[in-house]
């Protein structure tokens, strides 16, 4: 994985940087190698890189001070939440500083009347829900790493989760942020009111993968917990039948709280691991969750069951209790570690496709298995088309890591080819960076990178992530104006 070449001039000034960072963030600078090692990778475990230094500020002021020091010395910065990124978003740079936000971990304000929670970026996703559950509220976006991942990281990646079909992604649930720019300026966008005015910078910051600014405060929406939630476990003899059922459910005007699909290899891996009673003789399993008031859930469960049966479902079970509902989910939620049991290594891919393309894509994946000599198990956010192929390999076997990466790239290219996108929720990071050209033209990428120039003209925040080619802002800023031969020369000028 090619990262920007380390700058020897920066490496040479390490001790000066260390001294100035110690002034800016007293007690919060990690220098010795053994301690820095804890920060040398995130959840994209194929890659490691020791950072030059690690800084752990405890406040917005310390974040700003640290960034000003780095800015003045031209030092690159890699922000880090909990390091759960699956796309290498927090992969360090050899000549860069990792800026960890874990110490900014306080919930600052809970406002039940306005239904908002204000917290620091290091607060974990699940702890927001925990903080408000006694009053019957929760924070809806639920990425599967929610016990560990931080809200700041969620904002950076625009994280999703099983329930984002009905309740939206992080971006649809954030009302405001405070950020610090690379130059150390603190800016607030949005607030507890709906719809910040002016340009939607909040929308641009969400999902910006640590390239535009460091988030130091987040205001999120909290919702009343649904009264009832029930899950349906539905088995099908073919992927087509499962896909048809999903389309029929949406066509009937039903947006379930969650709708997940697993293929046979994934079902078998999960059942072997968690033993919750998944049917082993089906080609595809659909888990549909419906939530809301009792009468609504009753009504919708009836409709979904009928639709599934009309599309040829071979089995259908409805959860009769909360423990049973959780059990239905346990296999799906354990799918990744379950696959980790049957294979020394795996890559979890992430791409979105139009739902109707699923049977064709799955068939093509079976062909790829033959071409690359590796197996794949699939879980699929059926409601929104977000596919997670899990490519199984053994990095100790020469060549398998490379074949697995090539397999992954082939899958992502296929996603784009069928009208989808490279990433539905894990982000581009380093993992998909070099495939950006499959989805975007030079002009598309240039316009996005110019946006970066408005926030971070020196290009010091997280370089080497998301965009395959780094351009200097001066070069991007130049505008070619076609003087001489003008179209419409006879338009009168006033």
């Amino acid at each position: 994985m090619l990262m920007p070449a380390p700058d020897p001039a920066i490496l040479a000034r390490r001790s000066e940087l260390l001294a100035r960072l110690r002034e800016a963030v007293p007690g919060g600078v990690i220098e010795d190698e053994a301690s820095r090692r804890a920060y040398d990778q995130d959840a994209l475990t194929a890659y490691r890189q020791m950072p030059m230094l690690v800084v752990l500020p405890s406040s917005t002021q310390e974040v700003a001070a640290a960034l000003r020091v780095c800015s003045s010395l031209g030092v690159k910065v890699v922000p880090r939440g909990a390091g759960t990124s699956l796309s290498g978003g927090a992969l360090p740079l050899e000549d860069g500083v990792v800026l960890g936000l874990a110490k900014l971990s306080r919930i600052l304000d809970i406002d039940y009347d306005n239904r908002t929670v204000t917290c620091q970026p290091g607060v974990t996703n699940l702890s927001i829900s925990r903080a408000v559950e006694a009053r019957g509220f929760y924070y809806a976006p639920d990425p599967s790493s929610q016990i560990a991942c931080t809200i700041g990281g969620n904002v950076a990646e625009n994280s999703g989760g099983v329930h984002c079909l009905k309740y939206g992604l992080t971006t649809n649930n954030v009302l405001g942020v405070e950020l610090v720019t690379m130059e150390g300026e603190v800016i607030r966008v949005g607030g507890k009111h709906f719809d910040a005015e002016g340009y939607d910078l909040l929308g641009i910051l969400t999902g910006s993968e640590g390239l535009l600014g460091v988030i130091t405060e987040v205001i999120v929406r909290i919702l009343p917990k649904p009264e009832t939630a029930r899950a349906l476990l539905i088995g099908f003899a073919s992927n087509e039948a499962a896909g048809d059922t999903v389309a029929a459910i949406i066509g009937a005007g039903i947006i379930p709280a969650g709708m997940e699909m697993m293929d046979k290899p994934a079902i078998h891996a999960a059942e072997a691991f968690v033993r919750v009673g998944y049917p082993l003789d089906v080609e595809a399993l659909l888990i549909v969750e419906l939530d809301g008031p009792g009468p609504e859930v009753d009504h919708l469960c009836g409709q979904v069951t009928a639709l599934a049966q009309s599309r040829g479902a071979v089995s259908c079970r409805m959860s009769g209790s909360e423990p049973e509902r959780l059990a239905f989910w346990a296999g799906r939620k354990a799918a990744f570690p379950a696959v980790g049991r049957i294979s020394p290594d795996y890559f979890c891919m992430d791409g979105t496709i139009p739902r109707r393309a699923l049977p064709g894509v799955l068939a093509r994946l079976r062909e790829f298995e033959g071409e690359f000599g590796l197996r794949v198990a699939n879980v699929f956010h059926a409601g929104d088309g977000n596919l997670h192929p899990l490519i199984l390999f053994d990095s100790n076997v020469p060549g398998e890591l490379e074949r697995a990466e090539a397999f992954g790239a082939a899958i992502l290219r296929l996603c784009v080819q069928v009208g989808g996108v490279l990433t539905g929720e894990h982000g581009v990071g380093v993992e998909k960076r070099d495939l950006m050209g499959e989805q975007f033209t030079e002009s598309d990428l240039a316009h996005q990178q110019r946006l970066k120039c408005a926030f971070d003209p020196a290009g010091l925040l997280n370089p080497g992530k998301v965009f395959p080619v780094l351009h200097r802002c001066a070069e991007l800023g130049r505008m070619h104006v076609h003087q001489g031969k003008l179209a419409f020369p006879d338009i009168p000028r006033f």
Binding site: H193, R355, Q439, T441, L445, H447, P492
Partner: protein
């Protein structure tokens, strides 16, 4: 590309209009503008000229011929259309498949898709279903550099690259000229009913509404129409229930039981509900006095009543309507006088926001007032500077709608 001598719907003279019929012509028009140093007023059918600040330049870029639905897949929840497509065409295509635009654009029979996205105004369902920006999946556009580009995608779940569609939504045509837009569309509710409580004052209405919104009632509309605005002189506090029949019944009954003691109650069935919320969405009570200026004020919902009280004390004789559970205040000034001629009393209106978060936007006023007033809430210095830098990256020569939002942007 057609060039015309007269700008659409205007009594303006000596105006040249570019009317592109395909993307390449949009590129040519913008490139001409940058080469000639001539800014463009960018419009669809011009129905939203009354919003924002007026752009009085001699060249208009009229997108109305870039029209038509490109693809619509109800089962994928995705619709793609040219930016100049009439909104009415889109809403009726959706209705055929029992789907809708969940964010409830204002006056859904007027204007173009591009206009809806450029102005980013959402209706009463916004707190529950999200705003315009939460439903724009992808945008193809031509920047002020005369270069075409695409942001976002055509699927509902996408985090590839920066979320350019969010930035473009609500940018009033100042960053790029939209050519094609992809929206997330959703099933329309099977049933809708409305519960109205009569005679409750604003402060109590917001308090009741807060409890309703903290419950599992899942209302998709919560508004308060003060007594002075209702024909029979009794205020209306209304809640909308949408969904499948049994659910609507159940939830409405529960809220009715919980609030029954607060005042006389009426229930509107489907057709009456649809009319009622349309009039809230379009602020129909203020439509009659077209010469009175109107502010649109966004605040944290629980503070709506206090902010309204401050506004009413500061400007007696004004009328108001609360939507978004208290989070949106439509504020109509009294009959115009000299004190309003320059800035529609902007300083006084915005003073009511001291100590709270939010912003006030002037949404109805003569062009002459909108030229001199601060139509949009002035931003803090850091944020304003950042916004200008963003503008400069997309439109370095300021040829796209200069001054449409802020005088110097």
């Amino acid at each position: 590309m057609r060039l015309c001598d007269r700008a659409r719907d205007q009594g303006r003279f000596n105006v040249t209009t570019f009317a592109p019929t395909r993307e390449q012509e949009v590129i040519e028009a913008v490139r001409w503008a940058t080469a000639a140093g001539e800014p463009l007023e960018v419009i669809g059918t011009g129905t939203r000229r009354g919003l924002g600040r007026p752009v009085s330049v001699p060249h208009v870029l009229d997108l109305s011929a870039l029209s038509g639905i490109v693809s619509y897949e109800p089962a994928e929840l995705v619709l793609t259309a040219w930016a100049g497509t009439p909104l009415a065409e889109i809403t009726s295509a959706l209705a055929e498949h029992r789907q809708h635009l969940a964010f409830e654009p204002l006056s859904d029979v007027e204007g173009t898709l591009g206009g809806v996205v450029a102005t980013g105004l959402s209706g009463p369902r916004r707190p529950k279903a999200g705003a315009v920006r939460d439903h724009v999946l992808g945008i193809a556009a031509v920047s002020g550099r005369g270069e075409s580009f695409v942001g976002g995608g055509k699927v509902v779940k996408n985090v590839t690259g920066y979320d350019i569609p969010k930035l473009m939504t609500g940018s009033y045509g100042t960053l790029a000229v939209f050519t094609e837009i992809t929206l997330k569309v959703l099933p329309a509710p099977e049933d809708v009913r409305t519960l109205i409580i009569h005679g409750v004052a604003a402060r109590e209405a917001v308090r009741l509404t807060t409890t309703v919104l903290q419950s599992a009632a899942e209302v998709s509309g919560a508004c308060h129409v003060p007594a002075s605005v209702v024909a029979d002189g009794t205020s209306q506090t209304a809640y909308r229930f949408e969904g499948v029949g049994p659910s609507v019944e159940f939830r409405l009954a529960r809220v009715r039981d919980a609030l029954g003691g607060s005042g006389p109650v009426t229930v509107l069935e489907r057709d009456e509900s649809v009319s009622f919320w349309r009039s809230i969405r379009d602020v129909t009570p203020f439509a009659g006095a077209a010469e009175r200026m109107v502010w649109r004020i966004s605040v944290p919902p629980a503070e709506g009543a206090s902010v309204l009280e401050r506004l009413e004390r500061a400007i007696p004789g004004a009328h108001a309507l609360l939507d978004w559970g208290g989070g949106l205040i439509w504020f109509q000034l009294p009959e115009a006088d000299e004190s309003m001629a320059r800035d529609a009393r902007a300083a006084v209106v915005r003073a009511a926001l001291t100590g709270t978060q939010g912003h006030a936007t002037l949404v109805r006023a003569p062009a002459s007032v909108r030229e001199t007033a601060q139509v949009f809430q002035p931003q803090a210095a850091g944020l304003a500077a950042l916004s200008k830098r963003v503008k400069a990256q997309f439109d370095p020569r300021r040829v796209l709608n200069p001054g449409r939002m802020y005088a110097d942007v």
